[in-house]
Symmetry: C2
Subunit: 348 residues, 2 copies
């Protein structure tokens, strides 16, 4: 790596002159500026970012901790994060907690040693279950700007970006009811997550509002008392979950619609419904989570509630960088709610 010093020596000027010339300083003569910059490009000189960081106490780097990159939702979030960060001149250092609290703590430690200007965090499932957030409090005490996304907690004060899980399901029930559906089922494999709870609550509230009651028989909880990694274990889906969904569809009297609360159940429901020779969507409407691409994998194509994950990522970055740049230690934190939208497919 070529340094200012070497350029200076080569040109018989001082280091500071070279520095200023590289920064197009007014102080330096056009002639010198040209000479310096010419040689710089010739030798492929690049400012040393590390030195800049040490000097300026800014790294222009964001730390990103996500629970699971193999979950397509978070892959999309990360995609949005990278694009937005890049646009605003930041790099990102990424970590995946694999739903483990101890990993989350480790990563927060690494991140706390001056490598990043701010942190983007979606909590691990374990952290959420243990309801224990002191490791995150350390961060905020440290005055490191923090934005939490999707998997959040009330216990920590910071900017947050989430989707309207409750409303998403509530509105979906409402919409199906308007279409004339009378017996709307609800399948969830994520009832142990707070987002899963919000979705169940949305379903329950809407059921009461539009049908006068919430029939527990219409709710299928998959993989309760277990955890996400288990859910993502395809073996589980192939055997137990597959069977449960099949029985649910076959045996629930009058079932004319299904809302699935997670990415996979909806696709399974459509494929299983088709296999049972049910006319979808004529006799059974199905709506799930996911996106255009994954919803292609059911036949007919699953109609989905789009969570706009990319936008969540982008918005989180924008909030974080805004927070980084406002030196004020004001603590008027915002919680932004990204609206979902339903569409695509032909299963509704």
């Amino acid at each position: 790596m070529i340094t200012l010093k070497q350029l200076a020596k080569e040109l018989n000027v001082s280091v500071s002159t070279v520095s200023k010339a590289m920064n197009n300083s007014e102080e330096i003569s056009t002639d010198t500026i040209n000479r310096v910059q010419k040689l710089a490009t010739e030798l492929n000189y690049k400012r040393n970012k590390i030195a800049l960081s040490l000097k300026s106490n800014k790294t222009l780097t964001l730390g990103v901790i996500l629970p699971d990159i193999l979950n397509r939702f978070y892959a999309k979030v990360l995609y949005g994060v990278q694009i937005a960060a890049e646009e605003l001149g930041y790099d990102i250092i990424t970590f995946f907690s694999r739903e483990s609290m101890s990993k989350e703590i480790d990563y927060l430690q690494i991140i706390g040693s001056g490598t990043v200007d701010g942190v983007l965090l979606a909590l691990s499932e374990e952290t959420l279950n243990k309801n224990e957030f002191s490791h995150i409090k350390d961060l905020t005490l440290n005055n490191t700007p923090l934005v939490m996304l999707d998997r959040i907690t009330d216990k920590i004060s910071c900017d947050k970006v989430i989707i309207d899980d409750f409303d998403a399901i509530y509105n979906e029930v409402k919409s199906l009811a308007k279409m004339g559906r009378k017996r709307i089922g609800f399948i969830t494999a994520i009832n142990n997550l707070n987002v899963g709870q919000f979705r169940s609550n949305g379903y329950r509230k809407a059921s009461i509002d539009f049908f006068g009651k919430c029939d527990e028989e219409l709710i299928l909880k998959l993989a309760h008392q277990t955890n996400i990694s288990h859910i993502q274990n395809s073996e589980y889906y192939r055997t137990s979950a597959h069977k449960s969904i099949e029985q649910f569809i076959a045996n629930t009297a009058g079932l004319d619609a299904i809302i699935a609360a997670d990415n996979i159940s909806g696709i399974l429901a459509v494929n299983i419904g088709s296999k049972l020779n049910i006319d979808i969507p004529k006799d059974l409407s199905i709506v799930g989570f996911g996106d255009k691409l994954t919803s292609m994998l059911s036949h007919p194509q699953l109609t989905t509630i789009n969570q706009h994950a990319v936008q969540i990522g982008k918005r989180s970055v924008e909030l974080l960088i805004k927070r980084i740049n406002s030196k004020s230690t004001d603590n008027s934190f915002v919680t932004e709610i990204i609206q979902t939208s339903t569409g695509g497919g032909s299963s509704k």
Copy 2:
């Protein structure tokens, strides 16, 4: 952030003493070491990584450039990369070129300014198509250790990690032939990529070896003359590709097996076959790419050729860090081939 200087002042010793004490130096008395470390933990002191980097000229950070994080294969690669990097004490800075060469160039520039100790790269589709690699040569000239994975080129000398695309398909044809299949079809949506070519070649060679000829009628090329982003456009899959596969299955006389060269075609083939009331795998064996989880989304479950993406990621990191640590500028580069394996599902 608390610094050595502050600790030193607090304890009335010099900065160098504190530094040594923190590093458990033999020079320092046990008493002092204890006093220093006690205060350090009390004040939550953390070594400033940036300063360390500047001093040591090592960042303990790896740059990772992948074509597309929304592609599950690369998501798994990244997962493996992060785990292996962490184990070896490295952080990762991630970029997604979105199949664009200019993005790839940008990222290589960013990375070239002293932020990383080495680079992990899977080429963008555009770069591969344009067959233009000078931006990568700059990197190697710069003596930055580089490992290329999956999407590679002969034009650049460096360590490489790939899968045995040719053999994977060749062996699959062989295996199906052994099972008694006579007319094995091949569906590909990635013939414009080098990996896609390797897979086609494997199919062709095996066809000739085991059936005496390669019947072009048995090959379905989807989305040729287009690009990856197009392929991943679900609209395309829903309409054109879906129809093509349906016609291919319905109209190819004697078709008794299908090998799909990309992640999506195989799942579609199974679902379309089922819809056409074909008994899978009795009358039609189908094998595709993908993994356990995605293959769940077809019914019956798709049997897949596992690319061991996580292992590719891990192995790349190991090679890269080995290269970083060997100061020798020897250029005996290795190309590691990760073996694929076929299994799971019930469509074969």
